[in-house]
Structures are given as structure tokens and as C-alpha cells.
Symmetry: D2
Subunit: 325 residues, 4 copies
């Protein structure tokens, strides 16, 4: 009775991950979502999935703008294996090198979105503090080193709740003054699938869009809003507690699916009724709660290290490790 599972309770928990949006839209269908291309590869424990949304219709279906979304899944990242960290760092570096212009005269502004003082939202700022910042060194280093060094700046602009200013406005102001050729934005993401908690990195060439992130960053950070291309790197650090409630109900439903009576109750309800039921059950109650792994503080640091090293390597291909550490 597998087909029941797909039809039961199709409400959508919000997700920042394109790969999850695609899984939801696609459901149990065998064909790919129209207007979407997906490519998978696996290396050293890291599953790399590239989702390309290339048609406007797909954009609407998926709720994500056209572009490339690369997901690196490492479901066992929480085990803190040093080899896996290295593999993830290397795969990330590979992917970033394809997106970041190789010409090191192109300057880059790294933006760490999120809130220092809320652990699951602190990923961006913690990456920023590990970035090799060089933009101000032009005047003081030797011509020799200068030739090998890309100008990189890095800021952690805070969040609306602590600054009182829309984060996009702060970034726009800084971009206008610092005039980078590219913005790379780091953010904490919300996922739907518990396995992605601190186990999934998404790189997107579309910037960051409304509704994204853990906190309150409502305006998009995109080429059209700041005037230069924006690469977004996100890590899933929370799952909304409603995801847990929903998954619990889904699993219960699956368990009970063989019992036709239970299935019939639900089948008799119109989809809108089903949605209303679950919203009522789950909605207001859990919206302000977050689900995180117990070891969140340490895992955020681990991940910030991986991201920063990948970025430093991709941004400064001509500098050796000693020069940036």
C-alpha cells in the first residue's frame, strides 16, 4: 500500500534546500520534475547532487529561482571523523573553484549571515572569522605576494533583530563602498529531513531568497539587489520542530496504513481538510521551537572550519596553506 504514503498529508514544511523541494514536488513519480535536471555523484562518503532548475515553470513548482543548486550530503558528519571532514572540504573546494572566477584580480566579499549569539544561527559569523582577509594588504605586502593574492574582504552584518536594519541594506551599503566583483554569502539553512541536520551543504549561484535562513532575513540577497553576482553557501543547522511532529504522524500513518479503517478516515477528508487538521495540530504550537543535535556548538565549529578552509583554498589558489592559516 505504498501509494498511500505519497498521498497522505501533503503539507509542506518549509525547506531551504532545492533538493528537498524537488523530492517533495516529484513525490513517488519516476520522471524528473519538468524543467529540472539532476545529476548525482559520490566520492569518499560525500554524495554530490546537482539540481538545475532551467525553466520558469519549474521555478514556480519548486519555489526556488532558476539556477544551479549543488548539495553535498555527509549524513555521518556528526560522528566527527577527520577523514570525512577532509573529503567534504576537498569536494567543496572543487565545487567552489568552478563557481568563483579564476582571475584573482576579481575581488570577493564574504558575508557571514546570522547571529553570533544564537548557536544554530552563528555559522556565517564563525566562517567569516576564519576567512583570510587580504583586501587591505595591497599596500603593505611585496609585489611578489600581491601578484598571487586575491583581494578578499569579510563581514558579519548581524541580523535585523539585533541591528534594527534590514541585513540586505547593510550589505548593499558595504558593497557600494567596497565594490567587490562577487559576494559569497554563508547562511544557516532549515531543512525538512532530519538526516540533513549538520550533514548537508548547499551551494547556489542564485543568491539567497526570501524565507531563507533561520532568523529574520526577509529580503533577497541576489545580483539584482546588490549589483554583483552572489554565490550562497548554506548548511542545514536546524529542522523546525514541526518537521518532527509531521514525521511522527507520517510514520504513524504508515504503520497504520494496512488498517483500511484509519486510511479511510484520512482518505475521506479533502486535502484542504487534511492540511487544516495538521496545521491546527502542529502549527502555532511548535513554530518558535527549533530542533538541534545535542552537540550543536561543537558541530557548528567543525562545519565552519570546513567551509572556511574550502573558501580560502578556492579564493586563494596561488597561496599555500601556511600563508593563510
Amino acid at each position: 500500500m505504498a501509494e498511500h504514503k505519497a498521498t497522505f498529508l501533503p503539507i509542506q514544511v518549509y525547506t531551504d534546500m532545492a533538493i528537498e523541494a524537488r523530492d517533495i514536488v516529484r513525490g513517488d513519480a519516476k520522471e524528473e520534475v519538468p524543467g529540472v535536471r539532476v545529476k548525482e555523484s559520490k566520492s569518499g562518503g560525500v554524495l554530490v547532487t546537482e539540481v538545475e532548475i532551467y525553466e520558469e515553470s519549474a521555478e514556480r513548482l519548486m519555489g526556488k529561482p532558476r539556477g544551479h543548486y549543488i548539495t553535498l550530503d555527509v549524513p555521518t558528519f556528526q560522528d566527527r571523523d577527520a577523514d570525512l571532514k577532509t573529503h567534504l572540504m576537498e569536494r567543496l573546494t572543487d565545487q567552489l573553484k568552478e563557481l568563483i572566477p579564476q582571475d584573482i584580480h576579481k575581488s570577493v566579499l564574504v558575508v557571514g549571515l546570522g547571529n553570533w549569539n544564537a548557536t544554530p544561527d552563528a555559522l556565517g559569523p564563525r566562517v567569516v572569522e576564519r576567512i583570510l582577509v587580504t583586501r587591505h594588504l595591497g599596500a603593505v605586502v611585496s609585489e611578489d605576494i600581491k601578484e598571487k593574492m586575491r583581494p578578499v574582504a569579510a563581514v558579519a552584518p548581524g541580523v535585523l533583530g539585533t541591528t534594527g536594519i534590514e541585513t540586505l541594506d547593510i550589505i548593499r551599503g558595504i558593497v557600494r563602498e567596497a565594490e567587490p566583483d562577487l559576494v559569497v554569502a554563508i547562511d544557516a539553512l532549515a531543512a525538512r529531513n532530519l538526516d540533513r541536520l549538520l550533514g548537508s551543504v548547499q551551494i547556489a549561484d542564485t543568491g539567497i531568497h526570501p524565507g531563507s535562513g533561520v532568523g529574520n532575513r526577509r529580503q533577497g540577497l541576489t545580483e539584482s539587489s546588490v549589483g554583483v553576482p552572489v554565490i550562497a553557501i548554506g548548511v542545514c543547522t536546524v529542522v523546525q520542530s514541526v518537521s518532527i511532529a509531521q514525521e511522527a504522524i507520517r510514520q504513524l500513518a504508515n504503520q497504520l496504513a494496512d488498517d483500511m479503517a484509519f486510511y479511510d478516515i484520512l482518505k475521506q477528508m479533502a486535502p484542504s481538510e487534511q492540511r487544516g487538521l495538521v496545521d491546527e495540530v502542529l502549527g502555532s504550537r511548535f513554530s518558535e521551537l527549533m530542533v538541534t543535535p545535542k552537540e550543536i556548538d561543537i558541530l557548528i565549529d567543525d562545519m565552519a572550519e570546513v567551509l572556511a578552509e574550502s573558501l580560502n583554498r578556492s579564493l586563494q589558489p596561488h597561496l599555500s596553506a601556511n600563508e593563510w592559516s
Copy 2:
């Protein structure tokens, strides 16, 4: 059909709160649990409930040792209202003054259980850093001040995972050397009810018992294990994610309770089957996850401030605020 609610899925999510244990045991019954006395009072937005377990049979039923458990509930603590903080601090001070010997020659060791580096578990250490420590000042202050000052020491012994030593062993070693007359232990608690998250303080004269707390502190910290009386102060800082899943199912069941078919499905199952079902659904999946409010970092600080000030006032009744801040 209220009676369905009480009988449905009576599995027990673990709770550190005596008041929740009593609510579970009592269910919808109108009489108090035998061997238990409960007294409620309310003042300035703070609901004070005293649960006294006075018979051995009640001890077994409740899963908590005989003694007094005082719960101060402030469900709106997360709104960060300054008046409410003050009220809670004053009520806590009142309660603590009744438990802590008035004779200030009796020395006290305050123990902050938990892990500095894991926010929801950091309450104990954060209280400890705000305690007015005086035990070492005997030799340097004037006779005058010495007369008014209770000797107080304070330690944050860490957790098994970071020290490699059972926390109880560390405390026992310190108690043997420092020889306090009383230990006051601060700990983060797990509750079942989401409303208690950062909104409930429990004071117990029974010490801290196996299974308690957020982390790995398996041995009891009690008069019998350390040789001096132990007062435990706990604040609920996490709810296990299984609580959320369970509540979701319970609410769904209540919603569907009018539909006899659904109810019948469940009723046909034996209680053990019900339990097995829910364990299977919820068990392994969520056990390593925690649910916390978004603002956990700030709220833990707020609560640590309230606890520390209450303790400083109760421990040092003859010193004025200026002398300890």
C-alpha cells in the same frame, strides 16, 4: 469523549519534574496520588506548586525519591519582562531561605552541573560564575564583615564526556577537601511539557538522581553519596524531541477522537502494542535531538541571573546588594 484522551498512548516521556511525574501518574483522576501532598499558590505571575512525596509506595509510583519538590512556573518567562524576572527572583529567594540553614556559619558549596560548551546544558556553570564566593576571604576581611558573611564556595565540575571522570566522583573529592555543611546543585532539566521550556524552576531537598539532567550524569548527587545534605535547583532547558512527536500524535488522536473508527483502531490494540507502535515510530529516530527555543542563549543567561541573585540573597542575608554584585 474526554475519557479517550486519558487512555490513549500512555507511554512516558522521561521527565525530571516531580510535578509532571505526578500529573502523569494521576491522569484524569480527581484524587491525589496516594502518598503525595500537593499545595499551590500564586503570586505576581509565578505559580508555586509544592509536591511532597511522603510514602514509599508513592516514591515507586512517581519514580522520584521521597522529599519536597517545589516548582515555580513562569510560562511567559520567554517574553523577558523585567517585572516577572524580579517576581521570580523574589519567590525563589523566599523558597530557598526556608531550605538553607539560617545560621551563616554553615558553609555552602554551590555546584554548577553541566557543560559550558553546550548552551542548554550551560545553566549550572553560568550560575556559578555569578555566585558571590566568600569562603577564601575569611582571612582578609574585617571582623565586622566576617561576622555577616557565610563561607560560600562554588565549582563547575564539567561533565563526564569532557573530563573522563564521573561528575559525582569529582564533587565527592571536592566535598572531602572543602568540607561544606551543605551542597546546592544547579542543573538543567528535561521536561515533558513544552510550556516549561525556560519557564519552570524546581527546587528539591532530595538531591539529584540518576537519569536527571541533559547530559551524562548517571550517579546520584545526594546526601548519601556526598555525606552532606544536597539541595537541587533545576530549570527545564530542553524538551526531548520525542515529546514533540508524542504530543503531535496525541493531538491528532484527540482531533480524530470523535471519529469512532480511528478510536476503534487504537482501542483494539493492547496497551503494549500501542506502546510498541509509538516506540517504533518515535524511538531511535529522535533520541539524539533536542528541542529548544530560538532565543536559548539569551534565555539561559536571563535565568542564570535570576538563580544567582536568589542564591546570593538567600546565602548572604546580612550582606546588602552592593556587597555581592
Copy 3:
């Protein structure tokens, strides 16, 4: 032989404090520096000195631009007396209320200069995290509260070394987007007099000028550079180690001053020779070192609390304490 003291070794350790610049320029003279007015008052252990530089010639002599510089000296702040903290907070509030427009429709941007990750330079960011930020609340609060609430934003822009961007450029970009009517900038200052270490607050209506601060913030943050008035609040958190060396020599010289031979040696030297001697002795050796009190981490927090509460009170005269804490 007091007159020797004034003439000995008149090299100038850099100071951010106008009051110290005036003391250096004035030396032992009985008249005030021309073009400078000084007014003193004392209340509750706080010495308030207002230095007004009103002539261009004085500007050059003092190395500080024309304007008002109010210094609040509390040499015993390090003793952590709660009453003194309250007194300082109240005096600061009085002074700030005179400088900040009473019209609460005038919006304010609080800027915390300095580096989170270097304790003595972290004052600005630590004040910012305690500021009641309201600029984004206009849409969500009741008309009633809105009428009483000034729009306040707050940012901690980092330092050149960690962002790669001149701090002034970041602030200018933010000011352009957020359009405040006034900027209040908090900074850590370097003083010459060891007694001012964590014991002195300076308020200036002239903004912040090149050479100021502990870190690398070379461009001025002034009305002419950002387009709106800038009030600067600074606290002395470091004394350059060269100050210690110099004071040691000065004291030795004073001790030996009765011995004509020593005095004669120095007197025989031309002032430029004296300066060269001391530069050689002290210069390169100590320039990268800082002198701080042992308890710097705690004292910076104490001071950040005082500054933030004074600012919150001055900025929000119609809100009660509960509403901003």
C-alpha cells in the same frame, strides 16, 4: 625643585583624552591653555571635567579638533562598587541627554567600534549588544508605544584587520542606507595616565579622529565624513606600555632630582637629545605591547553595562526600565 619635573623629558605619549592633551600642553602653567575653557564638578565619586576647545590655535596646540570633551573620572571603578556604577551611569545619562536631541523622532545609529576578539578593544561591540534596538519595530508595536519610542539601530562593524574594509567606509555605507539623524560611536581609548585605565569615560561632540582607539581605525568618523552629527563615547581600556616606561623614568628622575648631578646630566642635554634618548630606550621595544588591569575581561563588561544603560535611558526617555531590559 618642582620646576624640574615639568621640564624633564617632555616627550608625548599618545593620548585619546582631551583632558590629558590639555594637561600636557598646560604643564605647570597656572593659566589655562589659550582658546580652551575647562569646567569641573564633582558628584557621588564622579569627577566631571568639561574641556571646550574653541579656537583654531588651541586645536593645533592640543591636537584635537574644536568641540566639547566631557570626561567622567571614576578612579576606583576597578573596585566594582555597585553604588559607584550607579552614580557613573546617572552622570553619564545626564551628560548624554544634553547632547542627544530630545525629539525622539530623530533616529540614532549606535556604532560599536573595535574588535570582538581582542578584549580591551571589545568595549564597543559589547555595548552594542546591550542597546535597545527599535528601528525595525515601527510596524509591529502599538501606536501607543510607537509614540514613546525613538528609532534606534546598532551595529558593530568590525575592524580593518578582520574585515579588509576601512571601518569608516562600512559605516558610511550603512548610514547611507539606514539614514539616521545622529551617530553615537563607542570606542576603546588609549590614555597616558595609568589611573584612567578602566576609570574614565570621555564624551565628545566632535566624532572620532585619526589615531584614535586601540586598533586600526585611521579615518575620522565625523559629521563631515558620514554626513550626520557624530557623538563619540570612549573609555580608556589600555595604556601603551611606553607610558609605563616613561613614568618609571620620570619617577626615578624625580627621586633623583635632589641630586644635582643627575639633574645636570639631563639638563645639559638639548630637549631633542632627551627625546631621542627616550625614544631609543622605549620606542620600538614596547610599541606592540599593551598594559591592562588583571581583571580586564570583567571590567570591560561592567563598563559596557554602564554605557549601555546610560545610552538606553538617554535615547528612550519615555520608556521605563522594564521596557528596554
Copy 4:
């Protein structure tokens, strides 16, 4: 007139470094201090000096108990060169492997002395949080891994000022319960020579002695006080400000040494008068101040990393890097 230098102002700034004590005692003499053996070697930018005090008379002269003191000097550590960090880590590992029993059945307790909340004193706690703690894993790991793994515990007991209990007492209590075969204690040291600031590590097989450290840890932590051998690892994180003052005067004196008159003034004074003079000049004034590099927060972290990795390698020779990181 080199001989003047040695005789001028022989007051002694306190030092925790045996190598500095020896330099002071030896002065300009060409022979070694009687009862002391010194051996130097250099490798990859790290100067290793072993001072062995082997006679009781030397013990008294040097103010340090008999034993081995190995100093690793890396004066350019503040430049943050990655190669140098690696070299220092490898040299430290070599030295530690000679002192720590190779038999991995011998259990070790690592003690991080010092105060979390005072940066220059936080080295010990910051090393402890990076130590691979294994003592509690015996029951849960495979027999295979258990065979390769030494039982290691780690604690950061705090300081007297924050606990109210003598640190030695806390450690003694923990040692009694945990029963390690060896204690390794990490501490921040005070040096006299500014070049040693964050540029010098001392390993001693004598434990830690009265007067040591930055904070208030007056009792010795030695085999005789805790019952098992104690290896002490210290890093110079502060120089007392009196060192700066003294060095300034010394340099001034050297500059003026050619001028017989100045020299004569000092020569005419009895040594005790000289001492009194300098004490008066420098004493009370600077005693509560510390001199640190501007980048102290980052440098302490760098050093904690080096120490922790050296310790992990020395303590767990049979585990690979992946297993402890």
C-alpha cells in the same frame, strides 16, 4: 663599560622560568651556576634549553626546586607562521614523550590551571578542552581500540578567586577519586624577558611551586602534595608591568653609563638603597597591571592548540591523528 650593566639595580622581578632565574643568578659570569647543568640545542627555529638543578645549594640560589626544566623558545611565535607552529609542536611532543611513561596502561590526569574569564590566564582551560579524554570510554570501545588507548582525564579546576577553594585542594580531591598515575598540569607563567611573551614553553618534572602562575595559586602542585608525579607545562603569557619599568630604567642607565656622573650617583648608593629606590618607584604603582601583546586572545588559542596536539600525540602514541581530532 659593560661591567656597569651587571651591577646596576640588581632587583629581581619575579620569574617562573628556571632559565631566567639562572640568567639572573649567573649574571655576566662565564662559569655555570654551581649545581646547575645547562644544555642547548636548536632545530627548525626552536631553541631548546635544558636546565638541570641537581644540588641543594643551587636550589636555594635559583629559587627553584631540583629537577629538569626544559625551555622551548620561539621568539617569533607571534608572527603566526604555520611551519613554526608545527616545529614547536613536534619538538614539544619529543620532549613530552621522554617524560610521560610509555606504558599506556598508566593513566594520566591533565589539569588546566587558570581562569577561563581572564584571557592571559585562560591557557590551561583552553588546552584542557582540546585534550582527547578517554578514561570513561573503557567500557564502550572495542577491545581492539582499548588496547591502543591510554586512559586520560582532564579538568579545569578554576582559581581560588572564583571557587573559594584552594586549587590544590580541588585537585587533591579529584586525584583521590580518579587515581591517575601521573598529573600533567598546564599553567600560564610570568616571565621577565619581554621576548618570552607568548614565545616560550617550559616543561618541568618538578610540578608547580608557590608563587607561580598569573593568578592566585599559592600552594605547590607536586608529587608530595598530590601523591603522584606532576609534570608542569607552562607558557609565558604575561610580563609584569614592573618588568617594563625596570627595563626602561636599565636601558636608560646603560645609555647614560658613559656619563660617569650618572653612574656615580647610582654607585654611591648602597645596593639596598638602590633596591629601595626602585621598589618605591615601581612597586605599588604597577603591581596590578599586566603587559600583554595586542593579539593576546588569538595567540593564546594558537598556543593552546600546539600544547593540546603535542599532549594528545605524547599521551596516545598508538592512536592516529584522526582518532583524536
